[in-house]
Amino acid sequence: MANPMKVRAAVDGDTVLVKALMSHVMETGRRTNDKGETIPAHFIQQVTVTHKGRVVLSAQWGTSISANPFLSFRFRGGAKGETVKVAWVDSKGDSRTDEAIIT
Amino acid sequence: MSVRRRLFGLVAVAMLASSSMAGASDSVTDAIVREAFATATPEEWRDRLAQDDAQALCSRHRNLPPPEVAAQILESQRATLRLPDDGRLMGDWRAGEKLASIGTGGHIGRIQPDPPGRAKGGNCYACHVMAPGEVAAGNIGPSLTGYGRLRGNTPEMQRYTYEKIHNAQAFFPCSHMPRFGHNGWLTPKEIADLVAFLLDPASSVNAGR
């Protein structure tokens, strides 16, 4: 499985603020190495965040997202103690899911 | 004086000269430098680590030389000034503009060396504000915006500007500015192009706001 991501979720007013730091090279497929060879593309394409089985964020990413992406967003309807799951799938079919308890 | 005595005198002078050129300032630091760069080739040592008189003096005095030392440096650096053989002090300002933006060249080592043939430039924008349209300019040196507009481009001004780029320490001992001509970093033609970038009335450096 890919490197773990760091997920935090906290109640903030009437929303839950979710922050996810993902470990990923996010290669665009346009960079070259020291030998001049093109480094193949390898980037997260789909991000899905769920809470109690409901999708609260769905994102389709491309090559403009930088390496080790940091995602931060809010959603309504979450409460302390509940679980938020962040999942990604990349262009090579690799994937990772991590979760956090809402504080 | 006998020939033998004269030779002995020459050898003694040569030994003294080489020891001062090796930077006799601090033997503790010398040993540490030698250890850190033990794998440097003799060429790399000569070109990048060995200190000439000005470098050794400026290091020892932390770039604030007392008056006698400053005078000594001024004199020795003035003696190095060379004008181009073809007498052309002002070249092509557009070529100079390109050189002013190039900051690569001359990097060695295993981690991130420059590929062979990577162009060297003056990297002037690292330290100087120049053409008003270039926002990303440093301030280690004074602003050069309007340099030619303020000074004109008489033969004397061309000569001063050329010499300053060739060896800034001929005018300001222990200046932070690299001695581009004296150290062989820029060719006479490249320096002339930079002179043009500064002095040519049509240059972007002298464009009105």
Binding site: N3, M5, K6, K19, L21, S23, V25, S66, A67, N68, F70, L71, S72 | G23, S25, D26, V28, T29, I32, V33, E35, A36, F37, A38, T39, A40, E44, W45, D47, R48, L49, A50, Q51, A54, Q55, C58, S59, R62, N63, G106, H107, I108, G109, R110, I111, Q112, Y125, A126, C127, V135, A136, G138, N139, I140, H176, P178, R179, N183, G184, W185
Partner: protein, 272 residues
Amino acid sequence: MTWRMRGLAAVAVLAAASAVSIVAAATDAEDHAADEIRKYRQMLEDGNPAELMEMKGEALWREARGPTGASLEACDLGLGPGVVAGAYAQLPRFFADTGRVQDTESRLISCMVALQGFTPVEATRDWYRPGSDLEALVTYVATQSKGMPIRVPVSHPEEARLLAAGGELFFRRSGPLDFSCATCHSQDQRRIRLQDLPNFLNPADARASMVTWPAYRVSQSAVWTMERRLIDCVRQMRWPEPAFGSEAIVALQVWLQHQGEGGELQSPGIKR
């Protein structure tokens, strides 16, 4: 005045205001650029990818590895075996068991060799590649000193020797561009292009800078340690590459940390 006229007037005022602000922005181009960089840095502070390296580093610290199958949990970083909290704030320092002054990397390598049975070559392999084991370990160790004041010991003769040497090295000029560290780092309020430069002769600047290392460098997609930063500075000076862990690099760190004494560590930082 009709609503329509009021609306037109409002648009005219807005247009005039924006024209004025565009002119102001053109003449304040430098300030605007610096401002935008400040905003960018603030945005980056939340969610520092260095935290990923910290997690990796902690895992490596606890993992049984190498020929002996031991973890690094008995490693003495200067405050006793296994004490990580506060260690980075007091490094580099003299270690009796190795008989020399060592920085964080050097000390970790000693432990990898002594406790885990790695050879020095194995321990330092690819140290400068983004995401390397050493990068992760130093990030973890440094983060355990967050909030603590920098205070490196300089009383041992070897510590004093390297402190003095570090100061000398800072001013040592050589090479085709006549550079020394002092060329860029000895005056207040200077920058190269738009990159602000700390003046290490100014204690306030030195503190503000030293507390931000190690730092995730966005342009490199990697955490850079102080040793990594110094070795790259030497490269930029057009000198040959200094040996990793050499006394020269440790001496510079002793001097720099001493200049930054008292600063409260914010490690890991985040930078361009």
